[in-house]
Every structure is written in structure tokens, then in C-alpha cells.
Amino acid sequence: MRNISSLLFSGGLAFLLLVLATQLPFGHTSMLLGNDILQAAPDEVGTGNIVAAVLLAYRGIDTLGELAILFTAAASVGLILGQRSNHSAKRDKTITESHFITSRASDLMMPLLIIVGFYIIFYGHLTPGGGFQGGVILAIAFFLPVLTRPGTTIDHGMITIIEGLAGAGFIMIGLWAMLYGKPFLQPFFDTFLGNGIFGSLWSAGTLPLLYLAVGLKVGAELAGLLVTISEAPAAEVERT
């Protein structure tokens, strides 16, 4: 009964969304905002990657919010799973080595991944990429050993500090502008951070700094999440 009605309603939803779609201007959207930004961004923000301009400059507070969501999720997961894993971590220090090739490969990969991650972060405002993408790669870099050597622990304290400081850094950069009487998160202001040259690494005001903060934050949050979750089942198995 439930399945039938579910199917019925899903079908209805499909139909209605299709009907709705016919009402929408497919592929010919007015792009009011988009055009404005496309025109203004190079001059106003000075990034080559306009998506990055949108993400960090025009909609910087969105990004802050999203970082906060990640942080919240991580904190909540920590609340749920974190405490006991500390216990188990103390009791159970045995690290199971996995296969030679995987473990060595992961050791080799780690620095590479870190470098790639930071590259993507630092060039985020110029090329496709940025703090999120780079942050994910960084997280992977730190999570890889856990995958290859089940039982490895990562210092949660470190993660906490990194995520806290990275997040605070983002906000501090925003507040910095306010110190100069500018609106929060304004990318340019009359400081040593000049305008830079369009298209170079040192351009677009505070944006690269913001991306760094984002990258570190995302990396730390994701790593923390992954590690916490991966530690949890071990604890369950042990208890049952």
C-alpha cells in the first residue's frame, strides 16, 4: 500500500515537475545577476575565476555559512560518536597493517596530495578549483593512512584547532575590513594588500587568503568527519 502510494505520488511529482519545466525559460534564462557579475567581476574583484568571485566576494557570507554548516555537522558527529571513540582509542592501540602496496602507496600519495591540495587552493581565484576542492583533497590526504592502516588515530585536538582557527581566520579577514570602516568581507581596502595584477597569484585582494581559510577549514572538517565515522564501527564491534 505504501509502495503503491509512493509510486503514485512520485509519478505525480515527475509529471508535475515536467509540466512546471515547460513553463520555465530553458537555456534562455535572463541571467540578470549573472550578466552584471560577469561584467563587473573582473574589475571589481579582479579574479580570473568568476565563480570564485561570486563565492568569496559577492556571496562571501554564503560561504561562511556553509563553512559553519560543515563545522556544525562535524561538531554534531563528534558529539554523537566522538566521546566513546576516545575511550576505545585509548584501550585499543593496535594498528592493523594492510597490504604492503596499499600502505606504501598511500605513504607516497600523501605529500603529493597535500601539494595538489594546496595548489588548487592557492590558484582557486584564477583557475577552476578553490578552497572546497583543495580542502577535500587535503582531507583525503590525511584520511588515506586511516584507510590503509585501520586503527590509526588522528589527533582530534589538532583537527579541532585547525578547524577553529581556519574558520576564525575567515571571519577575521572579514572583520579586518571593518576595522578600516569598510563593510564586512570587502575584499579590497587600503592596506598593504593592494589590488595586485589581474591574473596573477597575488591579486584579488583578500580572496586568496579567504580561500586558504576555506581550504583548511574544509580539509579539517572533512578529515575530522571521516575519521570520526570510520572510528565508530570499531567501537561498536568492540562493545558488542
Binding site: R2, S5, S6, F9, G12, L13, L16, L17, V19, L20
Partner: protein, 630 residues
């Protein structure tokens, strides 16, 4: 500062003082003084009862673009004086021995709470009566409801508590109907002032008037316990502690009548109601309301006949008597409306006295159950006398005041040529006669129980208010003109033609009523009867009531031979089927319906898939939106 302001200040002061000192002994004296002072202030305003100008309070409130104001006119004053007098009588009743025993049974605090409840009732009713627009009327209305609820909730008895809950649900339903009506008035006129509604009502369509009247009337009818909303009232009033029952029984439900007068008669107008025909029937709105009144005189009265507890019996009569008032007001002539109004006064006097007598009986014997009473006349003759006076009033027999008002209602129905309504009213009266005999017989007549052998007359503090009420009943019965002054002023204020009257009664070309003569004749007849009985023949010998036999058995104190249970068995058997619980079943059906819906809703809230509801509502709303375009 007008006298009305003084009244309000006194009310506030009284409430405050009583609240602060309610645990202290001696608070009852203070309460009596308070009601007396209130009565004094009302008497200061007595110009209203003789055609004086409307008195406004200087206090007003501006909200929602509305000006809330309070004022007293002749109608308000008429109701107010009954209210305050009832309060005073109740307060006196509970000030002496009764109060002491209540304190002993419960606590000082509980007694204080009862005093507070009574005072809040009086105060809230005065606020209601003083209302000068729909909003203040509603506010007063709600206040009265909550005050009554507080009073009813004071009895710890299970039945009483259930009755109180039932009451509050009914009262809330009524208030909501009232609120809805008020909202419609606001929707139509953009104002809640009486004057605006009165002006606008002329231009309203029939449908609107029907809806409005229905909503207003439902709200008011619930308070008055009119058919079909009669189920809550009797139990709730009966189970209230005695002084509370005295007060509530005497006047509380009449607030509904006051509101009917204000809204349906003053604002919408009876003539207007009469012009509106209910579709598919040959009735108009006014006849419908009159029939509600008529049915209310019948059904609750015969339910009362069934009761086996004196308080319940009286309370059911209270419901039924409301029907006469409505019926009187819904007649199209000044005599009827005067009768209806006069009945409010008369009813208050005898209902209060009756509840007091029952209170006294309970005070002495601890019960009002007919199966456990009987034969108290020898022990409590004065109480019995008051009860006889009152039941004569309640049954509407000469020479008590109840007769006058009922006569006026009958006479007006006769003038209007309403045979069926007349018959209905008479059926109600006859039922009342039977029923009050049952009341007096089962409590005071018949066999005295062994455990009541040492019962003494009610204490003086209880007797005084009863006797005073009995005197009022008799005096206003003999000289109804005293009250008809006020009634006529109220009629003027209602925009009706006042009734023509003199001190002795009604002046009417085609057969009036002169109570002075009638009373005298009655007493003459009784005198003749007494002469025939006492002067002729030998002296009668008094024997004890156990010196008696029935069916060959000697009746002794061990064998209980008091016929009280299932009184009027034959009649009950005959008419039982006509009203057996149909309203109760309706009520239960509504409760079951609510229960069913509630269960359904609960199941909805317990759906297994949390997201199910999202998709359902998305699909439905999108469907309805696209449905508008496709």
C-alpha cells in the same frame, strides 16, 4: 467621576481586599459589607429604573481603532440590581453558620476562595452588563464564563468537576460562536460599536442576518442553556457549593438573556427578525427563536421531573424557566417582553430562595438526595414555609410573583394568537407544578427518617435571607407594579413600547390583571376554608406520623415507607420515550466524532516514512496550482 466609575472602583477594591485577606476569618463580614455598598451605589443609580439618563463610565480603551466603553442603561441596571442583590443574599447566606461548617469541612483558604469566586462573578457580570459595544460585551462575556467556571470547579466532587469541564467546553463553544458573529459584524461594518451594527443591520441581506443571528444566538443560548445546549447547565449549577448555586442559579445564566436583548432585540430588532423567512419552511426567525424558548420550557422541565436530587431538580428548572423569559421576549408585544423581563426578577427571587432552602437542608442533614430525605417539615417549618412560597412562585401560581410574569407571557401569546406556543408554555408550567410537588414532598413531607429525628431548624443566618426573599416574592407578587416600573424603563431602553401597568398589575382593555384583588380574594377564600375547617367540627387530635398503617402494615421507624423513589412512575413511563437521551446522544456523537478525527490526525502524525507527507503535500499543491492554468 460617575457612579458607574465608583462601582468599578469598588469592585476592583473589593476583589483586591478579598484576595489579600481571603484566608482570614471574618472575611465574610467584609464581603457582606461590600455587596451592601455595591447595592447602595446601584440604588444611587436607581434613576435608571424610572426612565433616567444613561450613565457612562469615564474609563475607556482605544484598540483596533475601536473605542471600548462602558455604560449603564435601564436594562443593564435592571439586571445589575438583581445580580448584586443575589450576591448580597448569597453572601449573607454564607456568612454565618454555613460558612463555619464549610470552613470546617474544607479550610479557611477554600472558604476564602469561594468568597473570591462569588465576588468575581458579581464583578464580571457588572462589567458585562456595563458593556457599551460588542467588544466590551465579549470581554465581559468571557469574564463571566471564567468566573462561573471557577465557582463550579470549587466542588471537589467528581461529578461536579466533570460538569465544570463540560461547562467550560460549552462556554468556550458559545464564546467562539459569539466571536465569529462579532468578527462578521466587523467584516461587514468595519466597527464593533452598537450604533454601527444597528445602522448596518437594516441593510443586511437575509442570509447575513440569519448567519449573524444564528451565531450570536448560539453563543448566548449556550450561556442560557437553551435547547439544544441545555445539557451542561443543570449539573454544573447544582454541584456548586450552596451559596454559589444560589447565585449562579439566580442570575448567572440570565446574562445570556441580557446579551440576547442587547444584540438581537436592540440592535438587529425583533421586527427585522420577523421579516426573515427561513428557506423551505413557513417559519421566520422570530418564531424559531420563540420555539426555542417554548421547547426550553418543556424539555428541561420534564428532565427535572426525573431528577432524584433536589439541587439537580431545581437547576433543571432553572434551565426550563429561561425558556419563559426568551418566549416572553420573543413575542411581538410589549406585554410579553415585559413578562419575560419581569420573570428574570421573579425567577431570581424564588430560585435563590429554593437553593437556599436546599442549602439549609443539606446543612442540617448532609444530603439533597430524595431517597435520603423526607418529613422534615416538623423539624424545619420555616424553611418549609419558604420553600412552599418559592415553589408557588416557581410553578407560577397565584399569589406569588412567578404567577404575574407567567401570566403576562401567556396573555401576550394569547394576544399574538400563538396557540402552539401557548400550549407549550402550559405544558411546561404543568410539568413544573408536578415537579415542585415532588420537591417539597420528597424533602419536607412524608416520613421523617430516624437519623433526622434530631434535626433542628436552619440557623438564623440562613433563615434571614430566605425569609426576606420569601417576603419579596409575596410583596412583588401582590404589587408587581413595584418591579414593573423598572421593567417598563428597560423596555423603553430596548426601544420597545413599555407595558401599561399599575401597582396591582397589568392594565389591559381585554382582560387585565390586578394582583391586589386576586391576592385578597385568595386569602378570603382561604379564610373561608379555614373557617369551614377549624370552626366547624371537633378538635383534631395530633398523632405521630408512625401511628399509621398502610396496606395492613403498621408503619414503623424501622420500615421505610416514604414514597420518593421513582415518583410519577406512570407519567415517566409514558413520556420517557419522547426525550430519552436524544440530546445526550447527540452530544456523545460529537465527542465520538472529535475522538475519531483526533485518532485519524494522530495516525497521520505517526506515519512511518517521515518524507511521505512532504511529497503528498508537494504533489497536491503543485497539482492545484497547475490545475489553475491547465
Amino acid at each position: 467621576m460617575s457612579v458607574l466609575d465608583e462601582v468599578f472602583i469598588l469592585c476592583a477594591l473589593g476583589a483586591l481586599v478579598l484576595f489579600v485577606f481571603h484566608r482570614i476569618r471574618g472575611i465574610e463580614k467584609l464581603a457582606v459589607v461590600f455587596y451592601a455598598a455595591l447595592l447602595y451605589l446601584l440604588i444611587k443609580m436607581s434613576g435608571l429604573g424610572y426612565g433616567g439618563e444613561v450613565i457612562y463610565s469615564s474609563f475607556s480603551l482605544n484598540i483596533l481603532g475601536e473605542t471600548l466603553q462602558w455604560r449603564f442603561d435601564a436594562v443593564s441596571w435592571f439586571f445589575a440590581i438583581i445580580t448584586v442583590a443575589s450576591g448580597l443574599f448569597s453572601a449573607v447566606f454564607m456568612s454565618g453558620k454555613w460558612g463555619e461548617s464549610y470552613r470546617e469541612k474544607t479550610s479557611n483558604a477554600a472558604y476564602g476562595t469561594l468568597q473570591i469566586a462569588l465576588l468575581l462573578n458579581v464583578n464580571s457580570m457588572l462589567i458585562l452588563l456595563a458593556s457599551g459595544d460588542l467588544l466590551s460585551l465579549f470581554i465581559g462575556w468571557e469574564l463571566v464564563s471564567w468566573a462561573s467556571f471557577m465557582m463550579m470547579a470549587l466542588n471537589p466532587d467528581k461529578q461536579a468537576r466533570q460538569a465544570a469541564i463540560k461547562y467550560i467546553v460549552y462556554a468556550m463553544a458559545g464564546a467562539m460562536a459569539f466571536l465569529a458573529a462579532m468578527a462578521y459584524v466587523y467584516g461587514i461594518t468595519g466597527s464593533l460599536q452598537y450604533a454601527e451594527l444597528a445602522q448596518a443591520s437594516a441593510a443586511l441581506s437575509n442570509g447575513q442576518i440569519i448567519l449573524l443571528s444564528l451565531l450570536f444566538f448560539t453563543g448566548f443560548a449556550i450561556k442560557m442553556g437553551l435547547i439544544p445546549f441545555h445539557l451542561w447547565q443543570a449539573v454544573a449549577y447544582a454541584e456548586t457549593p450552596a451559596p454559589g448555586a444560589v447565585f449562579l442559579g439566580a442570575i448567572s445564566a440570565r446574562m445570556g438573556l441580557y446579551a440576547i436583548i442587547v444584540v438581537l432585540i436592540q440592535l438587529i430588532g425583533l421586527g427585522h427578525l420577523q421579516q426573515i423567512h427561513i428557506p423551505f419552511t413557513f417559519w421566520n426567525l422570530q418564531t424559531v427563536l420563540a420555539w426555542v424558548g417554548a421547547l426550553t420550557t418543556i424539555i428541561p422541565t420534564y428532565i427535572a421531573l426525573k431528577q432524584n436530587d433536589a439541587r439537580h431538580l431545581l437547576a433543571w428548572h432553572g434551565v426550563g424557566q429561561g425558556g419563559y423569559m426568551l418566549l416572553g421576549l420573543m413575542t411581538l408585544n410589549s406585554l410579553g417582553s415585559a413578562g419575560g423581563l419581569l420573570h428574570v426578577f421573579n425567577y431570581a427571587t424564588y430560585q435563590a430562595a429554593l437553593f437556599m432552602t436546599i442549602g439549609a437542608v443539606i446543612y442540617r442533614t448532609g444530603t439533597a438526595n430524595f431517597d435520603k430525605l423526607g418529613g422534615l417539615v416538623t423539624q424545619m417549618p420555616l424553611t418549609f414555609m419558604v420553600m412552599v412560597f418559592s415553589i408557588i412562585g416557581l410553578a407560577g401560581l397565584p399569589p406569588m410573583n412567578g404567577f404575574v410574569s407567567k401570566w403576562m407571557v401567556y396573555r401576550s401569546l394569547l394576544l399574538d394568537g400563538e396557540p402552539l406556543l401557548f400550549v407549550a408554555a402550559v405544558i411546561g408550567t404543568l410539568g413544573t407544578i408536578l415537579s415542585v410537588y415532588k420537591l417539597v414532598h420528597n424533602t419536607f413531607l412524608g416520613q421523617l427518617r430516624v437519623e433526622h429525628q434530631n434535626v433542628r431548624e436552619a440557623p438564623l443566618s440562613l433563615l434571614i435571607p430566605m425569609l426576606v426573599l420569601a417576603a419579596i416574592m409575596f410583596v412583588t407578587g401582590m404589587m408587581p407594579g413595584l418591579v414593573l416600573d423598572w421593567v417598563a424603563s428597560a423596555q423603553l431602553a430596548m426601544g420597545l413600547v413599555p407595558v401599561t401597568y399599575n401597582l396591582g398589575g397589568i392594565v389591559l382593555a381585554s382582560g387585565g390583571l390586578d394582583m391586589i384583588w386576586i391576592t385578597l380574594i385568595l386569602f378570603y377564600g382561604l379564610g373561608v376554608g379555614a373557617i369551614i375547617f377549624y370552626l366547624l367540627g371537633g378538635r383534631a387530635k395530633r398523632v405521630h406520623q408512625y401511628d399509621n398503617y398502610a396496606g395492613g402494615h403498621f408503619l414503623t421507624s424501622r420500615v421505610r415507607y416514604h414514597y420518593s423513589h421513582n415518583f410519577y412512575a406512570g407519567l415517566m413511563h409514558l413520556i420517557g420515550g419522547w426525550y430519552r437521551g436524544s440530546f445526550k446522544k447527540l452530544e456523545q456523537a460529537i465527542v465520538s466524532l472529535v475522538s475519531l478525527l483526533s485518532q485519524l490526525s494522530e495516525n497521520m502524525y505517526r506515519s512511518a516514512q517521515p518524507a511521505m507527507m512532504v511529497i503528498i503535500v508537494v504533489v497536491l499543491s503543485l497539482w492545484s496550482i497547475s490545475g489553475g492554468i491547465n
